[in-house]
Amino acid sequence: MIELLNYQFFQNAIIGGILIGIISAWIGLFLVLKKESMIVDGAAHTAFGGLALGLLIGIDPFLTALIVSIISIFLISHMRSKGHAYSDSAIALMLAVGFSIGLAIISVTRGFGVDIFSFLFGSILTISREEIILITLLATSIAAFLSNFHREILAIIFNEDEAKIMGIPVRRISICFNLMIAVAIILSIKMVGTVLVVALMVIPALAALRLKCSFIKTLISSITIAIIGVISGIIISAYYRIATSAMIVLILLLIYMIIVVRKRW
């Protein structure tokens, strides 16, 4: 265990994992309160199409995934607000379209010779020093936005119409928040992959909400749970050679179940 900490790849994984865990839990809490957690699943699966597209045209697949993810979130919001589709139908549509495009591109090109599993299930243990710098910059930007505007976001989630009457710039804040969701999803894909990203963002929030505390305490609990899940998941997976993403999600689930059981007693 101590030996592992001496390895650069392991240090990178822990640092990157903590940063991604913090912003995922933070954004995830808002999404759960907004009853829109499945938007993460939709955008993440759509991002898979973006990853494949990036590989096809020969640019950083995470950049194309980010662009596709942003487009999908705004399209889902647009379809919902204009009444073209219910929220769940809009998410299902984007999810299916994005994932199918990704699958089609990958099957035609016979997988580009890259490990598709790393996109589907994450690859936190292969994170590089340069990627850590990028993750730190992006995570700090998201954290700065959320800490400055968390009350406005809460007011909008609580009642959007009231927030408008209160003079809160609902549209501008919602656009920025959607951008942050897309960035957080792409960062989380690096850690747990497109399939399990929704679990990383939602389970810490669900567990923290079971504690029935004030908002600040709920937020701190959610972030703490995410950090515990990420660190212990990475350690156990590295030690026992189990898939990291699965281990992180299983530990988060375990924490959730412990809280549920304790609260029942």
């Binding site: 400055n148 609580f158 009231e162 009457i165 003079g167 809160i168 501008r172 029935k212 600040i216």
Partner: protein
Amino acid sequence: MEKVLEVKELKVIRNGRIVIDGAEFEVLKGDYIGIIGPNGGGKTTLLLAILGRIPRISGSIKWFGKELKDFKDWHRIAFIPQDATNFDRNFPLSVKEFVVLGRLGRKAGRKINREDWEEVDLALEFMGLAEVANKRIGELSEGQKQRMFVARALVRKPEVLILDEPIAGMDASIQEKFYQKMSELNHKMNVTILMVSHDLSVVFCKMNKVICVNKEVYVAKVGKEAEEVLRKAYGEHFYFVFHRHECRGEFVD
């Protein structure tokens, strides 16, 4: 006296039906106005229209002398919508955290400072909620929830407070206390109040004007004049009985 709100020839259509037709009225500073009328008569539509939340077909709305489209000082007005208390009871906010949200709006991203928290404490004290300040909002009773919404409105230091059926779900003794607080706000702090209410006795006892909405909008000072207005609004199917000395009113079919 300063004109707070001026409405002229207002016409609003919702779902293809004319809901408000040619409304004309003024609200002066310090007014305490009861908005009454039959269900589906357009009370909530009128409020949403004057707040610019739903479009109007024609007419003019001026807040503090400014046309609605040019009016930017929304911090001067606080609105508590109908069914405001029907929120998710698991929403993770303490009463204090909820009330401080009322300080937002003037400048997005502004840090909440000590002065803001002091205003929150004062508002909670005034509304009799100091003891439950750290409770979760979902744990409050209906009456406490409604007072919490008023406390959130008060921290904005509004000049106008608009409430859409605030007493629904409150028992009689809590209603009385609630109205006392509203009267205090109106008399001591000179807050102009517009309140949708079905309780005619309260409207006639505690308020100085009545706006009766039933597609058309009738305005009258409380008293004999209001009685005529109510007859017009409710039509001949209703016989209005108003006992001035008992300070109560009722409709008899």
